[in-house]
Structure formats: structure tokens, C-alpha cells
Amino acid sequence: MSNNTPPKTRSVIPIGPFHPLQEEPELFRLHVEGETVVDVDVEIGWNHRGIEKLAEDRTWDQVTFLIERICGICSTSHPIAYVQAVEDCCGGVDVPERALYIRTVIAELERLHSHLLWTGLAGHFLGYNTIFMWGWKYREPVLDICEELTGNRNHYAMIKPGGVRRDLDPSLFPSVHKRLDELKKQVELLIGAVTDDPVLHARLKGIGVLTKEDAIDYCALGPVSRASGVPADVRRNHPYAAYDRVDWDVITAEKGDVYDKTIVRLLECLESIKIIHQCLDNMPEGEIDAKIEEVPPGEGIGHGEAPRGETIHYVRSDGTNSPIRHKVRAPTYMNLPTCKATVIGESITDATIILAAIDPCYCCTERTAAIDAGSKKTIMTGKDLIRLSQEKTLRLRKELGL
């Protein structure tokens, strides 16, 4: 090393807090030395809307609509967890079978479009805009199905304590089956595109590793934990809705790197398609609402598997028509801190995809700007970070002679 080499200074690169791509605004401060990330600090609270407080001013039925607005993507996972908490508070409600099946269908459609959305964005970060275009193109038919079945692409307003608000029209099922069969082929194509591509292997394998021990310590959830070999899945561990009445597998992987997280999500899409087919085929006839009259004093806990992991709701009732406490914990709340275990020690070119791999938000990179590092002032924007990431893919492609 020549004497002219400047000493390594530690720079702080903030990513965030706001960007239209994000589901939740958050700010990552990456401490870097040269190109290596040496520390990471997460700041959340940029979009704290006080929903738990608002819920105390709403009636039990109104809260269902309020919490649907927590997240546009998980707009049915939260209501499912909430109504299960209310049903638990009522001392166990016999929710009609048909309602359980309908809940399962909507929840799995949601998982499908959420995972496809993530796949597309992950492709974009890596400079694979074909995957981005495919992923989002294949997501559209899923949203169309949602709209036909429920009336809305998101925010379906289907769930209510004791059952569901609207019945599904059986005359639509054949067309849904047909489109899901199409989608299955397309997801298989996507899986092939990922597993057969040596550049993606070089780019995703062995980076951002979350070990099994760390996954257990951080109490990671959903695909993040399952990619590390921890089979945490509420659908299997605490069966709700109709998940114990259909045949499906919990997808797990062992290594916990970004590649495994990608594969777990893609394979889960196939499981979701399997579950929806079975639910539509075996949907029992009958009532869709248990018609809960009132919520007695007491407390209840409900949880469900959102696309990103377990979402858990706790409600406390004093016998009036609104909760006195409603606690909500979304999966990213537990998954986000795992970035301490996955990003540190990695190169800054990989930071965007590692942070994106937990599916929290898509790194808000447009708004990124570097702040000064002691005497040296570096400026790096979000575009630069994505460019760095995409350049690495190009370089690898050349090296591999592709």
C-alpha cells in the first residue's frame, strides 16, 4: 500500500427515510469503512400514525376497517389476526366453516401478490429488470382475481369478527382456477430463471446470512426465519382459518442467505396456489357469519401468518363497544433488527439487496445521500447505490463469460 492511500475513514450513509417504493418509511444508517459495512443503525417511527390509540375510539366493528389500513399489502392479515383476538376474547366463537375457507383464500391471494411484488423489486435492485417486469406482470392477474372476488384489488374489507362480510360467488371459481394454473407456470418460470442463472447464484449465495441461532435469538418470523431453517409458521404451528383442512407444505431452507430467502418466497407462491385450489374445490356451503352480539369484558390474543411473518394482535375489553387497549405487532418489527446480524461485514454493493431481503421496504434508495465522514465529504445517492449493485451484477456476468 503506497503512502498516498488516504486512511480509511468511517462514513455514515443514511438510507431513507422516505420513498414511494417503501411500505413503511424507515432510516438505515450504514457505517462504512471503505466498502465494508461495519455497523448499522435503524430508525423507525417516520410514519407512526397512532393506530393503537385510534382503535380505542372506535367500535369493535370499526376497528376492523381501521387496522386494514395499517398496510396496503397485508390488508387482510391484520384483520384476520384482529378478529381472532376478538373471537378469543368472546371465549371462542364457532366461526362458520365457509367463512374460514373464504378467509384462507383471501389470505393466500394476498401472500401471492406480496411475494411477487418482492421478487420484482429484488430483481430491479440486482439489475435484472426482466424479473422486475415479469414479477409485476404476473402479479396483475392475482390482483384482478382479488377484485373479482372481493370488489377491491387491496383493502378487501372481507373480514369481520365472527366470519366474513361477503360471500364468494362460486360462478367465478372456474376462471380463478384457470388463471391460477397459468400463474403456476409463470412462477415456475421465475423459479427457473433464478435457479439456473449462475450470476444470480454468485450474487445472492452466501451474502446476508442469518444463522439459525440468530434467527432464534432475534425471534425472526416468516420467510426470513424459514430460510434459516426455523420453521416458524403460524399457519402450521397454530392452525387457524382452514389451514389444517388443506394439504400444503411449510417451505424451509438451511443457509439463511439472500438466495434462500428468495427461493423460500418463490416456492411459497406455489404452496399458496395449491391452498387456493383446494379451498375453492372443497368450500362448504352454509352461513358466513356467526353474528357476534357483544364483546364481554376480558382479553384476547389473535395471530396469523402475514406474507412477512406472524402478525399478532392483543385486545382488552371492558364490556363496552370499543377496546380499551389494542396492541398490534407486525412481522417487520421483529425482522428488521436482524439486519444487525446480516449486513455487518458485507460490502456496500450488497447492502441494498440484503436490507431488501427481509422484505421490509425497498430501501428507499432514491432518497439516499451520504453525509460527511470527518474531513472527507462523500456524496452518494440512492441511485448510486442501486447503480453500484447493478454494476456488480454486470461485472460478474462478464467474469462468468455470459
Partner: protein, 157 residues
């Protein structure tokens, strides 16, 4: 595994530290403990019994504060059980030891309860505000009941 088996495990591990226990249904168990034992109990439930820490709910009951630590026992799918450890805290000056050293996943939720309910967590490694602004007034705790806070918070932020 059902509620009774989980309670058996808890009894075997915690013994007399359990002041009260209640099996609500086969999938929901509640135990109540003394706040002084919270660090030991949560560490044992998480590390020794291998339960996953879900989250904690702080509740302002006006007469006192309650904290409920929710744990998931998932060793034998599909028979998962949610076990909740409850403590009561004095309403005047609510304070309890932080469980974060033994259960690292609790770091954020304790920060959140601190700012939204005003509960002190002793020996927490990082007590910076999590959700609210850094200049949020000390005496405004949004999730407490019956505290008017108009005029105290600058809405122009």
C-alpha cells in the same frame, strides 16, 4: 402440546415464582408473576423452554399498569400454545427491570412502551425514542388514559 402441558413445563421450570395461573383454552395460557422476577422468568421461558418471544403489551388499567409478555410454544406443530406472562406495576412510578439482556428481541418493544406509556425499564441498553420525535415532551404519554394533552405537543412538526 396443549395448555396444560405448557403450564406443567412452566411450573417445573419456574416453581413458586408463578403467583397465579390460568388456562383460558387449550391454546392460551396466562401466568402472573412478581415484577421482581421478570428477568429470570422471561429468560427461562425463552432460553430454557425454547419459547419464541412474540411481543409485549403494556396496558394502562388506570389503577395500575399491566405488562403482558407473549411467548409462543411451537415445539409440536400443529399444537402451538401462546403463553402470556403478566406483571402489575404501580401507577405512580411504573418501573421494572429490562428483559432485553436475556431476551434480545424485546429491545424495541420496551423502548416503545417507555415512550408511549411512560414505563421505565432499568438497565435497558438503548433507551432512545423509537417511534416518537426526540423532542417529544416527557409528560405526554399517548397510550395513557385520561391525560389531556392538548397544547403540549407541537402539531406543526
Amino acid at each position: 402440546m396443549n395448555g396444560e402441558q405448557v403450564l406443567e413445563q412452566l411450573n417445573a421450570s419456574l416453581g413458586e415464582k408463578i403467583k397465579d395461573a390460568f388456562i383460558k383454552n387449550p391454546r392460551r395460557v396466562y401466568i402472573e408473576i412478581d415484577p421482581a422476577d421478570v428477568v429470570e422468568v422471561t429468560r427461562a421461558v425463552h432460553k430454557d423452554l425454547g419459547a419464541r418471544f412474540c411481543t409485549a403489551s403494556g396496558v394502562d388499567m388506570v389503577a395500575d399498569f399491566e405488562i403482558l409478555y407473549h411467548f409462543a410454544f411451537e415445539h409440536e406443530p400443529p399444537n402451538g400454545v401462546l403463553a402470556t406472562v403478566r406483571i402489575h406495576l404501580d401507577h405512580e412510578s411504573p418501573a421494572v427491570d429490562s428483559i432485553t439482556p436475556g431476551v434480545p428481541a424485546a429491545a424495541w418493544i420496551e423502548r416503545e412502551m417507555h415512550e408511549l406509556l411512560g414505563i421505565e425499564f432499568r438497565d435497558h441498553p438503548d433507551m432512545r425514542p423509537l417511534l416518537l420525535a426526540e423532542d417529544w415532551p416527557e409528560d405526554v404519554r399517548p397510550l395513557r388514559h385520561g391525560k389531556p394533552w392538548e397544547g403540549k405537543v407541537n402539531r406543526q412538526i
